[in-house]
Amino acid sequence: MTKKARLATVWLDGCSGCHMSLLDLDEALIPLAGKIDLVYGPLVDAQEFPKGVDVTLVEGAVSSQDDLEKARLIRARSKLVVALGDCAVTSNVPAMRNNIPVKKLLEGIYGTIPTDGVPPLLKHAVPVHDAIKVDLHVPGCPPPAKAIAFVLGELLEGRMPELASKVRFG
C-alpha cells in the first residue's frame, strides 16, 4: 500500500463556497478517503496546522492579521499551496472593502469596535499570492467540483494540472 497523501484545506476570508464545491464531489469523496489523509481544515478536528503537508487548498483572501500569519505557516509547512477560488486568486468580494478605511468600516458596522480576542483587520484584503508563494491558481466562484476533482487527481498522480479549459473566473 502506498502512503496516503497529506491534504490540508484552509479557509481564510471567504464564504466556504469553495469548500462546498469540494464536498460536491459527492460519491467521489468515498474513493478519495482511501487516497488522502485530511490532516487539517474546517472539516476535521486538528487544532494546529501540522508539519509535512503535501498539498494545501486555500480558500479566501488574506484579510486579517490572523489570515496573514496562518498563510505564512501554511507555506512553511506545505509542499504545494493551491489558491482555490476567486477570493484566494484575486481577493474578489473581500476586497470590496478595500477603498474604505478599516476604522470607518468597523465604526460603521459596530459603533463600539470589538477588540478583545478578535484579530485586527489588515488595511486591504489581498490575494493569497500577495502574502506567500502560490504554486497553483484555480479560479471560480466557486471552482466547479469537476475542476477540483481534476486538480486533486492530477496532483495525486504527481502531475501539475493543466487547467486552461477547465476553469473560469466567476
Binding site: W11, L12, D13, G14, C15, S16, G17, C18, H19, M20, S21, L23, D24, D26, E27, L29, I30, A33, L38, P42, L43, V44, D45, A46, Q47, E48, G60, S63, S64, D66, N92, V93, P94, M96, R97, N99, I100, K104, L105, L106, G108, I109, Y110, G111, T112, P114, T115, D116, G117, V118, P119, L121, C141, P142, A145
Partner: protein
C-alpha cells in the same frame, strides 16, 4: 487560574474560537465564544444598485447562498413595491427546500455525525467525515446522497450549486421545464427514504446522550421563527412569531417591515458578532433562539403528513418548548423530511410550470425589508435606497447572530459540567465544540455579513491569565 482555548472550533461553518476561564480549583468560571472575522458587506455595498444585492450578498455564505438570495430579492421586491407571480413564489420556495435538504444533511452527517457515531471521546484524528466513511460507510453514503439530492435540485433549477443567479428582484429569471420537474420528482422517493431512515436511526440512539441532552444549552430562552397565518411552519415566507419557554406566544404575525419593534441589537466587546435580543424584554432577558429547534417550538404544525407525525412525537417526548440544544439535531432531521415533502407538493401542482415568473418595476419605495428562514434561522435583509436605486444603508440580521447569546450561554453550561481543569481531556473540549455544532452556526454569515468567525476555546484564570489551550 487558567485559560483554556479552543482555536479554532472545528466542523462548523466559519471561524470562531472559545475561551474558558478556570479558577484555582480547576472549575470553570466563565466561557466565551469569539467570532474573529469581519467583512463589511453592510458598508461596501453602499452606493451600488439595489439589484446587485442578491448576487453580492449570496457571497456572504457558500453554504446557504440561497437564503441570502431570497432575503435579498424579497427586500428588492419591497423596494420595487411588486407582488411577484404566484409561480415565482412557488419556485423560490422549491429552491429553498432544496437548500434546506443539503444544508441539514451537511450539518448532521458531515459535521456532527462524527461526534454522534464515532463518539465524543473518539480519536480526533479520525473524528470527521472521512472517518465516518471508513467506519460507517452506509450512513456516510446516505449523508452524501441526501446532500447531493439538495445540491442537485438547486443546480437543475437554478443553473449552479453554489451562488446561482436564477432568483431575481421580481421573481425568478426563467420558468421551470417539465423535464427538470420530472427529474427532481424521480429522485425524491430515494431522498425521502434516506430522511426517514436517518430519523428512525437517530431516535434509536438519542437516549444514549442523556448527559449531553441535560447539559447542552438546556436552559429556558425565547424562540423565534416564521409561521403562516394559521401558525404552520414556513421557510420561505410567513411572519415572525416569538414563543417563550413555557410555550406561550409572546409576539405573533410580525411583518418584515416591523422587525425593529421586536428585535434590538447590542455589540459585544469580545466578538465581531452582534447580539440581538427580544426588545420588549430587554438585554439580556430577551435572549432568544432561532433555527430548527426554535422553528419547531414556535410553529403549531409542519403542514405535511410525515413531518407532522414526527412533530407530534417530538413534542410528546420533550414538551411544547423543547429546551436542550442537543435536540437541534432531531429537529433538523424532521425539517429535512418536511422540506422533501414540501418539494413533492410544490412539484405536483400544475401551476409550478406557469411561464409568468417575473414582475418588472423600478424603484417605487425607498426602503425594503426581506425576511426568510435560513437553515440556521431567521434571516433579515433591510435596505434603503435613493431615487435612482443606489444603496444608501444596509442592515443584515443573520441567522446565527440571533443565536449568539444563547450559544455563549450553552458553551458556559457545557464547560461547567464537563470540564475539569485538573484532568483535562480532549473529549471535554470536544463537547464544547459539539454544542456549538448543534446550533449549526454559519459564522461566515453571522458577523453581520461582516465576517467569517473563528471560534477558539481558551481556559483563563479568574484574573484573566491564560491557563491552558488544548493543542494536539
Amino acid at each position: 487560574m487558567k485559560t483554556l482555548k479552543i482555536d479554532p472550533v472545528t466542523r462548523i461553518e466559519g471561524h470562531a474560537k472559545v475561551t474558558i476561564q478556570l479558577n484555582d480549583e480547576g472549575r470553570v468560571t466563565d466561557a466565551q465564544l469569539h467570532v474573529t472575522q469581519v467583512r463589511g458587506f453592510e458598508k461596501f455595498t453602499e452606493g451600488r444598485p439595489f439589484y446587485e444585492m442578491p448576487s453580492i450578498t449570496a457571497r456572504i455564505c457558500g453554504i446557504c447562498p440561497v437564503s441570502h438570495l431570497l432575503a435579498s430579492v424579497k427586500a428588492c421586491d419591497d423596494i420595487m413595491a411588486v407582488r411577484i407571480p404566484e409561480t415565482a413564489a412557488m419556485l423560490r420556495e422549491l429552491l429553498h427546500c432544496g437548500q434546506f435538504v443539503q444544508s441539514h444533511a451537511l450539518s448532521f452527517f458531515h459535521l456532527s455525525a462524527p461526534d454522534l457515531l464515532l463518539g465524543m471521546d473518539s480519536d480526533p484524528a479520525r473524528r470527521n467525515v472521512f472517518g465516518l466513511i471508513e467506519q460507517h460507510p452506509e450512513r456516510a453514503r446516505d449523508g452524501i446522497a441526501l446532500r447531493k439530492f439538495g445540491q442537485q435540485a438547486i443546480e437543475w433549477l437554478a443553473g449552479e450549486r453554489v451562488h446561482p443567479s436564477w432568483t431575481v428582484p421580481g421573481g425568478v429569471n426563467a420558468p421551470l421545464s417539465s423535464e427538470v420537474r420530472d427529474r427532481i420528482l424521480a429522485e425524491l422517493p430515494a431522498a425521502k427514504t434516506i430522511a426517514r431512515r436517518t430519523l428512525a436511526f437517530f431516535k434509536g440512539i438519542v437516549d444514549r446522550f442523556a448527559e449531553e441532552i441535560a447539559n447542552f444549552g438546556n436552559a429556558p430562552t425565547l424562540y423565534a421563527g416564521l409561521v403562516d397565518a394559521t401558525g404552520g411552519l414556513q421557510l420561505y415566507d410567513g411572519k415572525l412569531r416569538f414563543r417563550d419557554a413555557e410555550g406561550n406566544i409572546v409576539a405573533d404575525q410580525i411583518r418584515p417591515r416591523q422587525y425593529a419593534q421586536s428585535i434590538a441589537e447590542t455589540t459585544l466587546p469580545t466578538s465581531y458578532l452582534k447580539a440581538p435580543y427580544f426588545k420588549p424584554l430587554g438585554y439580556p432577558e430577551g435572549v432568544y433562539r432561532v433555527g430548527p429547534l426554535a422553528r419547531l417550538n414556535v410553529a403549531d404544525r409542519c403542514g405535511t403528513p410525515e413531518a407532522d407525525a414526527e412533530f407530534a412525537e417530538f413534542h410528546q417526548r420533550y414538551g411544547r418548548a423543547v429546551q436542550s440544544a442537543f435536540h437541534y439535531h432531531y429537529a433538523r432531521l424532521i425539517e429535512a423530511l418536511y422540506a422533501l415533502e414540501r418539494m413533492e407538493t410544490l412539484l405536483a401542482d400544475p401551476a409550478i410550470l406557469d411561464k409568468h415568473v417575473r414582475a418588472h418595476a423600478g424603484v417605487n419605495a425607498l426602503e425594503g425589508v426581506g425576511m426568510a428562514e435560513a437553515p440556521r434561522g431567521v434571516l433579515i435583509h433591510h435596505y434603503k435606497v435613493n431615487e435612482k436605486g443606489a444603496i444608501r444603508w444596509v442592515n443584515l440580521i443573520i441567522a446565527t447572530g440571533h443565536n449568539n447569546l444563547a450559544i455563549n450561554r450553552s458553551i458556559r453550561q457545557v464547560s461547567e459540567h464537563f470540564i475539569d481543569g485538573n484532568r483535562l481531556q480532549e473529549g471535554m473540549l470536544n463537547r464544547v465544540s459539539a454544542v456549538v455544532r448543534a446550533y449549526d452556526p454559519c459564522l461566515s454569515c453571522s458577523t453581520h455579513a461582516a465576517g467569517l468567525p473563528d471560534i477558539h476555546i481558551r481556559l483563563l484564570a479568574p484574573d484573566g491569565t491564560l491557563l491552558d489551550e488544548l493543542r494536539q
